[in-house]
Structure formats: C-alpha cells, structure tokens
C-alpha cells in the first residue's frame, strides 16, 4: 500500500513493531516471547499505529468503492455512445436521409403522431422505420445477448474460453435452422419457421448436454464442456450432411450460417427483445452468486449458494439467450468471447458490473460491426464474418499483450 511507504522509514519501523504487538496481544508467546512494556513511549507508539491504521482503513474502503464507481461511469459512457450510434447508424445507408428527418420519423412513430414526418417521402419513412431500425435494434439486442451469455458461461464453467459454442447450444440452434431451411427447400406444401426450429434445436441440445454431463444428479463444469464439445461436433457433421444433400441450393444454408442481420423485421424484434431482456435481468440479479461460482462449486456452497439451483438458472438463461440470438441472426462469433475479456482487463471481474456492462458493450460492438458491414463496401459483408475477422486478431493482440494469460 502506497500510504505505508509515504510514511518513510520510521513508520515502516513502527509498522514492523506493530506485528510484534499484535502477536503479543494474541498471546503469541511461542513465536515471539518478547514482553510488552507499558511505558509512555509504547503508548505513543500505539497511538501512532492506531492513526496509521485509520488512514489505511480509509484508503481500503475507497479502493473497493472506486472499482464499483468506475464501472458505473463506464456503463453510463458506453450507454451514451450506444444511443448516439443508434441515431447515427439509422442515418447511414444508401438512401440519403438527413439526421433531423431520421429523428422526426423515430419520434413520430414512437408517439404515434404522423405529423412529425408529414412532408417526407413515404419510401424514406419506410426505409428508416421498416428496414434500418429493426435491423439496428436486432444488432443491439443480439450483441448484448451474446456478450452476456458469454460472460455467464465463462464464469459458470470456470473457463475463460467458454461461450455458447462451448456448450454446443449455438451448434444446436444452427442445426435446427439448417434443418428448417432444408425442409423449406424441398417440402412442397409445408413451411418450417427457421426461428422456431433454431430455438428448438438449441434447447434440445442443452437438455442433451446436461443429461450427458450429469453424474449422480450433479453437474460439473468440466463434464459440461466435454459434453458440449462432443454434441457440438456431432451437430456440425450433421449440418455438413444437410449441406451436402441440399446440392446446388446449398447457398441458402451457407448464407444463413455466416450470420447476418440483413432484412430483419419488427417480428424478429418482438420475439427477441422480451426474452433476451428478461434473461439478462435474471443473470444480473443473480450475478453475485456467479462471482462465488468463480471460486468453484465447493467454495460457493460454503458461502451459501445453492449451486445446483443457481447453475440451472444460469444454464437455462444463457442458453435461452443464445437460442434467440442464433435464431434471429445466424452464427455470429467472437462477441461472446471478446467482450467479457475486454471488460475484465479494464474494470475487473466482478460479475455485478461485468454482466450489465457486457450487455452494453456487446450491443455497441455488434451495432458498430453491422453498420460497417452494410456501409463500408458496395457489397454487404455478413456481420458474422466481420466480427470474427476483426475480433480474432484483436483477441490475439490482447492475449499476447497480457503475457498469454487470460
């Protein structure tokens, strides 16, 4: 502690003596048999020690609160940036619409007052309200969902490399969606809804992984990872098989698997928002227990966490979020891995801040990536490809910079 050093050599001497006094007070005669004499100088010394202790205590309290306050500040800042980006990205695109018009359309639509955008072209209103805005909102909710589920899975499985892919949930959703696309390609008079199939795929996979990992009714984190990886590999092979069967129509599946937010409508928003928001709030509510789970199952139990129940809550919430994300946007990699790590490096590992901040930063990054993906080049880049292309090297950079420890 810097305070001790600032006192100089003499204080250090006193502090050193302090050990002896504590030892003595604790009746520690085996280690330090020196007796304590109640002279005037000793009393003076004790007073100094007491004052010094008060200063250190103050410093200590401040230090703990500082982290929490910093997290709050970062959260507010990121939130403001996110809102600004929301308007800016709504304004960006092929059609040239001014920022004031954009704001007028959004407010007019929200308060159901068409007067705000009376004089504008109908096509422009539609571009903003029916095309750009749903897509942006999906980017926000999917980004935050992926990041929060990543943070949750990492702490839950005590593995810094875990995310929804490790659990096989993403592969399950991808398989469900692929199956739906495949059915739609070849079935004559039956339409399989992709979102629903992806969702069922994710959930069945989760149940299967839990069933495989369970030993005597207990779930261990390493078992979950092993089961997740095995199931995930099987499903990947199954997806390849379906792609193979699809023949020349394979592009429909490939496009979906690449992960894209193009042409998402309000119906996607209505499906994803409530589920993801509720799950994120549940994760936030239990985030203190998630901190304790980082110490391991036994420690968490000893600190009063009903680990089986809490673990189940987090598994279900995390998987539900992933299922919805994959169902509406395809496979978007790296957000779930990279966002929690960036935050751990900068604001620490306390999940009470990590969970909500992951939500905001994830939303921000995916919105940024998607805005880039649709406006950087003439051809739209699938955002899943972009996040991995940029996120991967960035992750390597941090990894190397942190001396290869996560």
């Amino acid at each position: 502690m810097s305070i001790i050093h600032s006192f100089g050599g003499k204080a250090r001497n006193i502090l050193h003596r302090k050990d002896n006094i504590i030892d003595h007070c604790l009746g520690n005669c085996v280690y330090n048999p020196r007796a304590f004499k109640g002279s005037f100088f000793h009393l003076l010394e004790e007073l100094l020690i007491y004052l010094n202790g008060e200063i250190m205590r103050e410093h200590f309290t401040k230090e703990l609160n500082k982290k929490y306050n910093m997290a709050k500040m970062v959260g507010i800042m990121l939130g403001v940036i996110l809102i600004i980006l929301l308007f800016v990205s709504t304004n960006l695109g092929r059609a040239d619409i001014s920022i004031m018009d954009t704001i007028r359309v959004i407010f007019g639509k929200i308060i159901h007052n068409p007067d705000y955008y009376m004089g504008m072209k109908k096509a422009y209103v539609n571009i903003i309200w029916e095309i750009r805005l749903p897509r942006i909102l999906i980017a926000i909710i999917v980004g935050s969902g992926l990041a929060v589920s990543g943070a949750v899975f990492q702490s839950l499985l005590m593995n810094p490399l875990a995310d929804s892919y490790t659990m096989g949930v993403s592969s399950g959703a991808a398989f469900g969606a692929t199956l739906a696309i495949y059915i739609n390609l070849f079935a004559e008079n039956f339409y399989a809804p992709i979102t629903l199939f992806a969702f069922i795929g994710a959930f069945v996979t989760l149940l299967l992984v839990i069933y495989i990992a369970k030993v005597n009714g207990y779930l261990s984190s390493s078992n979950l990872i092993i089961a997740g990886i095995i199931v995930s590999s099987i499903l990947s092979a199954a997806i390849k098989l379906l792609k193979n069967f699809a023949g020349e129509n394979v592009s429909a599946i490939v496009n979906w698997l690449m992960g894209s937010l193009a042409s998402r409508s309000w119906s996607h928003v209505y499906v994803s928002f409530p589920i993801i928001i509720v799950c994120v709030l549940v994760c936030w509510y239990y985030s203190q227990d998630l901190n304790l789970l980082c110490l391991g199952e036994n420690e968490a139990r000893a600190l009063g966490v009903d680990t089986q129940k809490i673990r189940r809550i987090f598994l279900i919430c995390g998987s539900l979020i992933t299922a919805v994300c994959v169902a509406v946007s395809g496979v978007i990699g790296f957000i779930g891995l990279i966002v929690p790590h960036i935050l751990r490096f900068s604001i620490g590992s306390d999940n009470r801040s990590l969970v909500p901040l992951s939500g905001i930063l994830g939303a921000l990054l995916l919105l940024l990536a998607d805005t880039g993906a649709r406006s950087l080049m003439n051809v739209e880049i699938p955002v899943g490809v972009l996040t991995t292309l940029l996120g991967g090297p960035f992750f390597i950079y941090i990894f190397v910079k942190k001396n290869k420890t996560l």
Binding site: I22, L292, G348
Partner: protein, 254 residues
C-alpha cells in the same frame, strides 16, 4: 458440543470411504484430523460441511441434524477453506475476501461499513493487506491460501474448517495463523476442525486429534493421547520421538 457424529458411513460406488465413524467435536476447541492419503479425511470434512449428503448414519450440528439446515444457514455458521482453489478470473484479493460477507448480505446490495471493517480486519490479522489490490491470479499459491483463510474468517464463522489449508504456506505464516486461530478459539469460542499433515504442528496446536485409516476411526481423543509414537507408527509407518509433553519430532527413517 458442536458436532455429534454417529455411525457415519459413506461409499462412493462400491468403494467404502467412511465406515461407522462416531465422535463428538467440542465447542471452542481445535480438532485435527490426521491419516494417510486416501484415508477419507477430506470426505469426512465434506460430509460435515453438507457438501456430500448421500451418507448413512447421523451428523448432528448444534441443535439439529445437519441435513435440516439450508445451505444459507450453514454458510452463516461454518466457513470452509478448501484444498485447492483455482480462480481463473482476475478478481482483486480484496474482492475475494469480501465475498466472505455474502452469507449476511442481500443480493445487489453493496458492502456496508461494518462489512468493510470485518474484511479489513481479517486481511490485517492474516497480513494480506498488502495484496489488497493485487489480482488473485497474480499471487503465489501460499499467498492465495492466506487470502482464502482471510475470506473464511470474514465469514465470522462459529466453526472454521480447514482442509490442508497450510500446504503451501511457509512455516512463519503457518505458525502465525495457527497462533491466531488458537487465540480466536479462546476469545470468541471459535471451533476449528482441520486436516493437517505436519505432525509436529498437529501436536502443538490441537486439543483433540482424530486419526483415520482406511475410512475407519483408529484413535480419537486428547492430542497428548493420540500423538504417541506407537499410534503414529501404526498410521504412517514412521518413527517419531516425543521430547516433552508438547512437542513431537518426526525422524526421517522408515
């Protein structure tokens, strides 16, 4: 009397880990469990902390059966320092110690002034204050164990359970912490139950010693009765010498 264990049996699959153990643990005493590797020491502690509940026989904790307590209730009375705690995420040591206060807090609430005072005090007496802002992933194994002991003390427990918690701590701090725990048993009636491999320290610091071998209770009682060369010889097959009433010395011959 804190614990009353009667006819405790536990098996893992077909293998019997604990066989018909009966003993009582007194309040405000230091009880040490000794025994060779694989004799069931850790399993015994895990049954006593409620982490394992598929045992037969009875464990009474304070006034009622252990199984009748909720996880939360137990955490307000019993603190555990586990054998190997591997933390993968960069929490600061201060944060880890303050996790010890969770049994007494509501979710989402910040630490109160009282909580902070306890956390500070526990780090002070275990001499871990200098690591307060260091990341738990950056400290050495012994330092991490001291942090975990500070965390357990921050739980303000009635019973402290240590599972080889000194295995990486150097002799100076081991003695300091043992002295500290001894004084806490006297002053605040703390009950300490620990597993130790150092027989000299076991002899010096324990009131009662429980010797386990192959899941069976070999000897239980006052340290001076159990820590005898012939008992140790039958447990570990090593030679020991008693110097005075307190003080056992292990001679490195087989």
């Amino acid at each position: 009397m804190v614990y009353k264990v009667e006819g405790l049996c536990f098996s893992y699959g077909k293998k019997k880990i604990l066989e018909d153990l009966s003993f009582e643990i007194k309040k405000g005493k230091v009880t040490t469990i000794i025994g060779p590797n694989g004799s069931g020491k850790t399993t015994l502690l895990r049954t006593m902390t409620g982490q394992v509940d598929q045992y037969s026989g009875g464990i009474h904790f304070e006034k009622k059966a252990l199984k009748e307590y909720s996880v939360k209730e137990l955490s307000q009375k019993i603190a555990v320092v586990s054998q190997n705690v591997d933390i993968k995420f960069p929490f600061s040591c201060m944060e880890v110690v303050s996790m010890g206060r969770t049994p007494f807090r509501n979710r989402m609430k910040n630490l109160t002034k009282e909580d902070l005072d306890i956390v500070y005090k526990c780090m002070e007496i275990t001499e871990t204050l200098k690591f307060a802002n260091t990341l738990i992933t950056d400290v050495s194994g012994g330092e991490r164990q001291r942090i975990m002991i500070a965390k357990a003390l921050a739980q303000t427990p009635e019973v402290l359970i240590l599972d080889e918690s000194f295995s990486n701590i150097d002799i100076r701090y081991t003695i300091k912490i043992l002295n500290l725990l001894r004084s806490m048993t006297k002053e605040s009636n703390l009950t300490v139950i620990s597993i130790m491999h150092d027989l000299n320290l076991t002899d010096l610091y324990s009131d009662d010693v429980l010797a386990l071998q192959d899941g069976k209770l070999v000897q239980f009682g006052d340290a001076s009765k159990v820590m005898k060369p012939n008992v140790i010889k039958s447990l570990f097959g090593i030679n020991t010498k008693k110097f005075s009433e307190k003080g056992l010395v292990v001679l490195p011959t087989m």
